[in-house]
Structures are given as C-alpha cells and as structure tokens.
C-alpha cells in the first residue's frame, strides 16, 4: 500500500561541473566509470543534479554519490540504480527527470513509499 510520496530537486550551473572535470580526484568521488565514459559536460551536470535530487528525496547523506548510478535507457530517459546498501524495503517505486537550458542542469526525483 502506498503510504506517501517524497520529492527532491536540484539545479546546478553547467559551467561549475566543467571546472570540476579538470580534477580526476573530484570526478572519481561522484561518478562511476560507466557515467564518465561519455565525457560531456551537460551529460555529467545532469547526472550530478539528479544524484543530488535523489539524496533529498531518499534522505541520504551528502556523500552517497557512488551508491547511485544513473543509466540512460535507449530512448534517452535516465534511470536510477541504487546500491544494495541503500535500504529499499519501503520504496514502492521511483522516477526521475533531467532538463538542461540556459547553462543550467535541473533534475527532479520522486519516490513513492509503501508499508
């Protein structure tokens, strides 16, 4: 039975991620190698935003970057994959969406909770 909904959103300036892309150390703290295989600023900014949004929606600590993987389905929709360490027992389902414009990447994550 669905007991409630949580939502999280985040916005990030794409240029700031571009700066981060100069530091391998910083990148490796946030992105999985699979996410880095497309080394494109907009793409990475979107992943960054959606992970931050997921922290908010799931109530995760702010350094849980590598516990979430963002995968793109063949038709371009992003999908969140959670590490097993994140307790998903009370999650019914979740969804996310990413958008870019005006030098910004924006993302929103919704989580449906169940008993």
């Amino acid at each position: 039975m669905i007991t409630g909904v949580n939502v999280g959103c985040d916005v990030v300036k794409i240029s700031r991620i571009e700066k981060m892309m100069q530091s391998e150390t910083a990148l490796k703290k946030v992105f999985h190698p699979s996410e880095l295989s497309r080394f494109d600023t907009e793409h990475l900014a979107g992943i960054f935003a959606v992970k931050e949004a997921a922290f908010k929606a799931l109530g995760l600590a702010s350094d849980s970057w590598l516990l979430i993987e963002v995968k793109y389905q063949s038709f371009g929709k992003p999908e969140l994959i959670l590490a097993k360490e994140i307790k998903t027992a009370k999650i019914h389902s979740m969804d996310c969406s990413i958008s870019h414009d005006g030098g910004l990447a924006f993302a929103v994550v919704t989580v449906l909770n169940e008993k």
Binding site: T25, E52, A83
Partner: protein, 833 residues
Amino acid sequence: MSKGVKQTKLFRNIQDYLYSTCKKYTTRTVFIEKQKYRTKIWTFNDLWDKTTQAVNYIDEKNLSKGDKIIISAPNSPYWATLFFACAIKGVIVVPLDMNSSVDFIKKAISLIEPKFIFFSKFMPQAKEISSDVIYIEDFKAELPTVPDTKLARANDIKPDDTLLIVFSSGSTGDPKGVILTHKNICSNIHSLMEYMIIYPTHRSVSIVPLSHMLELTCGLMALISMGASVVYLPAVKPRAISEALQKDGVNIIIAVPAFLQLFRNAVMRGLEQKGLAKVFQKSLYLSKPLPKSVKRVISRVVRSKIGKNLTEMYVGGARIDESLEEFWNGLGISVYQGYGLTEASPIVAVDSPKPKLSRAFTVGKPIPGVKVKLADDGEIMVSGPNVSSGYYRNPKATNETFRKGWLMTGDIGRFDDDGFLSIIGRKKSMIIGPSGMNVYPEDIERTIREHNDIKEAVVLGIEKGNDVVITAVITLSDKKTKPGDIILNTNEHLASHQRVQEVIIWPDDDFPRTPTRKIIRGDVHKHISANKSSSGKANDTRNGKQLYKIIAQVANKPVSKITSRSTFVNDLGMDSVKRLELMAKIEDELGVVLSDSFVNQNSCVADLEKQIKLFKGMAKKKGQPNWPDYKTAVYFRLLLQYVLFILSRSFQKVEVEGYDIKQFDGGPVIFIANHQSHLDAPDIIKVLPRKVRTKTSVAAAKDYIFGNRATGLLARMTFNAFPIDRHGNIDESLTNIGKFLDKGNSVLIFPEGRRTRTGEMQEFKHAIGVVAPEMGVPIIPIKISGNYDILPRKQHLPKRGKTTITIGEPIIFDDDSSYISITDKLEETIRKL
C-alpha cells in the same frame, strides 16, 4: 675530453636508439608508473613491446612519415610510448605545454596543421578545440588491444629527418617552432652519455613537463639510454614527489631551480617548527670543507625528510642562486647546473660529476661535439650536430638566430681560465621566470594594449627576493580604469607562466623614449625596482597555512577572511560542488582523504582541521610491517598453516569443485568468497596450490581481528593478514590491497564484511565494486558451503561436517562499468556457483 667515453656509436635515429637501449637492458626496470593505488613496473622489454603496439596504433590512424601530431598531456610512460612510436614511423611530434592558452594552441594548430591532437581529457582547453582530438586516456585504454606484430629492423628514417617541432616559448605572438631532427636529438643524447655518470641503479622522478626538451632529452632519453629508471606520478604535486623521493628509491632528479627552492623551503619549515633552523645553518657552514660522504652522514636526519637516497640533482632551464646550490651541496646532495636551449636539443654545456669537468656555480664545459664561442658583446654562440636548422616556416626569425652555422643564443656568457662557462644574463629583455619558462614581454604587452583604456605598456621581470615578479607598467587613456580589471582581462588571454602578477601605473603621461620613439626599458626598470624596494611589501602568503590557502581558493575569498570559526555553509557559501572541490584539493595537496559527510549546517574550519589531524594520526599507523615477507616468516607461516590443516582434519572434510586454479598463471589475483565461519580463510588457503598459498594475504577486519594486538599478530603470522576498514575509510583499504598486489601477492577478501548470522549469504558491501576495477587484476570468486553448520558465529567448538569450496572462473572487468553493477555481478556469480 674524450676520456672515460662509454659509448662511441652514434645512434642513427630514434628507432636505432630505442632498439639498442631496450635490447641492452631487457628485463631491467625502465619506468615506474605510479597509479592511485597500484604501482606498475615497465621493463625495457615492455617499453619496446608497447612501442611496437603504438606503432601499429598510429598505422591504424593512417599516420605516415611527414605527418604531424600535437601532444599536450601529463608526463607518463604512455606519452613516451606515443612519442617513440611516432619517431619510428617518421611522424613529427609537436609537444605543447599543458598550460598553453587556447589562443596559443589555435595558432600552433594553424601553423603546424596536425593530423591529430593528443590531449588529456582533464585539460580545460581540450573542449575548445574541435578538430581531430584524441584523448591520451583513450590511447592508453586502446593500446592493449592493438597487435604487437614485429617491426622491421631497418627503416627509412634518415638522420636529417624531422623528429620534433618544439615551440621555444609559450608566446601569444607568432609562435616560433624549433625544428629538431633525429640527428640533433641523438647527438645530444650521445654527448650526455659521455658527460653524465649514470648507472642502471639510478632512478629519477619525472617533474619537468615532457613538452620541454630538458625533460624529453635528458630526463627521459639520456637517462634510460644508460639503463636508469624513471618514476612517473599520477599528478606532479609536491606531496607526490616527496612520497616518490621517500618510498620509491629515487636518487637523482632533473629539475628547474624553482623546484630546488621549493624543497629547501619545505626542509627549512620542518626545522623551524622544531626550533632547529639556527643549529642547522651553523652546521651547514661548518661542514662546508668536509667531503660529500661525511656531509651525508651529518645531514642524514634532515635528508630523511626529503628522501635519504637522493644524491644528485641536475638543474637547467634557469639560473640557480649560488646560495641554493650551496645549501644542497652542504647536505651532501650534489647540484650540477646545465645550460641549454630548445634550439640546441637542448644541452650546450653541463657541470659534470667527473672531477676535471666540474666547477661549482658554473654550467660546466661545453659537451663533446658542441662548439661554443663568445661574440664581441659576450653573446654565446653555439654550433654542433645538436643545433636546429631553424624555425618552422619562419625564414625571418631563422636568419636572425642562425648565422653561418652558429646559433645566436641571446645569452651573455663568460669563460673562466679553465674553460668553464658561466651565464651572466639575457641579451634581450626576456624575463626568465622562476619556473625556468621564458617569458617574452613583447607578447604580453601586445595583449595588454588590446585593452581600450590603455595607451602603452611595458612588461618587466622585477626581482623580489629570489622571485621574479612579472610586472606590467602602464599608462592610461582613461584614468578611471582599475588596474585589477586590466589584469583579469589580460590574464585570460595568456598562458599561466605569462600571467601578469602586478600592475603599476606609470607616474608620468608617457614613458622615457629614445629619439626614435623607442621606450627605454632600462630606465623604466630602474625606476620601478628602486620604488619597489622602498615600498617593501611584506610577503605574507607563506605564513598562511596551506589548508587555509586551499579553502580560500575554493571559496574564492581572500585568505585573511578565513578563520578557524568560519562555517562552510553560511560564512564560506560552500555548496555541494564546492565541498567536493575542497575535498579533492585536500586529497591532492595534503594527501588526506576525507568524506564530505561530516560537513553539516554548522561545521566550521576547525572541524575540518580536527578531521585532518585524525586522518594523519591514523595514516601514521597505516604502514604495514615487512616481517611477514621474510623467508623465515614464510616458512613459519606454512608450518602454522599445516598445523591448522591437521587440526581441522579431525572434524572437517573439505572438497574442492569448479575451476582449477593450477591453470591460472596470470600474476596476483583477488579471491572473493562468501563468509560463513572462522574456518573460511584456512579452508580456502588449504585448497590453494602451495605456490599460490605462500603468496596469498587475507584481508581481515580492522576493528575486529586487528582491534586486538594478539589476534592481529596471530593473523599476520598465519595468514599474512592485513587490516581492512569495513566502516567507511575505503581509501586506506584500497591502498593496503594495492601494496600487497604490487608485491605479487594475491588477496582474499570477504565482501560481506562479516560472517553470516543466518547461514544465508548477505549483501556485498559496495566497496568491492570499487576494488575490482581500481586494482586491475582478475577476480576469482569462491563459494563456501557447509562451514555454517560446522562453526557458526557465537559457537566456540566445531561440529563434524563436510565443507564444499566451489571456485569460479576468473573475471576481468571493463574500465567503464559502474561500481554498483560490479558489486551486483560478483554477488550473483557467487550465489550461482
């Protein structure tokens, strides 16, 4: 001068050089490639094989003789491999400094017309250049998949074929590309082989960028031609260099004076903190007349801070202060100064360790085969097989610099009575920055004048203590313009070593000029220098703690605004992006790995300092002892293990199924297994072939097994165990695992992190997903069943029973999977065994 000649044969071309070198030193180490957690050793044979593969790689890219490529990437064995492969194919390499501005890179591209540009992914400029970019990281990843079919011994590369085009300065004006042939470089290597004393036991760490001839010819090619080895760091940072000096047996370095200065400061800071600076200065003075060996004994304690093996430093690129040379010589670390320029491949003269060829504070004598004479005004003129034929597509500059077979260096020099050369200064106005990079004021002036509000500009190198400050003196057409804005505006268009550090507004309406309207630079310089010393600005940046500097940089605030009570979120405005940047910087520069999670709404700088202290305290204890590797310890371990096996036989029968490990012959691996009981580790060890068993270490919980001294010691004795942190600090665990793999040991890990409570396998900790790809070794999965019934948690005596150990096929992961999917896959695999 030909006394003590080691080698008489001159290499015909780079292939001849590389082939002869690699076939001479075969299985000796040539490169030590430091990765974040692992250290990869390249032998000379490996270098030849990889170069062969790289030749095939550039064949696949349709590059052929006479084509050009640009390389702008951090120093690494792959840089070297790509360069050698191009040299063998006759492809001309154009190395560019990684700090070149986008403008400069674009100019170089339009002049050179390269077929490909090899950039590092992490260079911000790479995104601005759209055409034919190949990331060197991709080259590295693709190389293993390229066949290494044998190369023809003979090739059609002639000594006079072009090998390199090297830009002699990062100038924003019209770049001048120095043409260097195979003969130029080979002759310079040959001369250095006669003049330097290098043995295969020598090991250096690569510091100067390979885009500079000092590093390419001397730091790479000359050193390895005599069998020496070179350490390449993942990033050339002071911390990484000092770690290499201390732990990787580096005994020689080739560097620019700025580096020697940096390390002197570090040594002196350490002594000052202990209140020993004065005693040290005195002993330095008193020990002056003593021989090097005695000095080294006296200075042992001080040297141990910078690496006790370091004995020699070759310095080039800029003049070195006499006091700096004296300092290092006083410690028993010999400094040899050299003189060279890109146009001379680059070495012209060098102070040699050979007694008759050495004199302190000079650049030694011209190297064999190179002629040096002084013009009437003292300008140094050079001729020899190492001298370039001229600048690429620039006959005007070529005619000015190369006259009747002589290279006009523009430097003023002097010979003493015994023929030792000293450099007095630059003939032209050129500024030699402290990093040894040549800065041409004219280029910067041209850029400044593009600013509308500026009438005229003169750029000078103003000496301030030991530093040279690039100072722009300007006259304004609009008096309201702020100098700060001008700097910002100008520096954006300049390479980092060219950036203006200070702006001064000239007090009069115009500069002093000659009758022909030329600005008299000398007068401007005199005036500015005089006023500088009287204003006597204090240099306060050095007192600021490094951490505060890092925080200030990331927060984009002045250091003075940061106190121990500044809060990250409110006072410093650090959001998640900035905090990540901060953590990455702290990791790179201080070597402290922190997680962002401790930062909350109220945490302040003092909290961060506490965390760093905590980490450093733990890091001190992090080192693993050596004794488990001693032969006696290994035999004792085997004996203990046999005793255990015999004991366990009384209640337990162990059966093995699945993959036969004896088939596997690929160096160290990581074994992972589910965890049912304390019997798991001994049982797995038991079924391994003896050869593997003596070289297998077990990862054991830091807080459980190593929480108690006795159990920790026992675990080390019986299983060569090492601690792994199951709560958080993954970096420390990765470092430990990396060290054991580097020693050639395989490692056994239980990814569940603890024994099962129910008999069911638990979820794997996601850390195993990071371990697998980061370590770059195959994973062998193992499933254990039966041990839960024999000796579960909370039970002290075993029951009788049968244990089955099922071994799976080795798994190798791609470089671009996700840590989560790897964890899941490993868990799946073991479940299905």
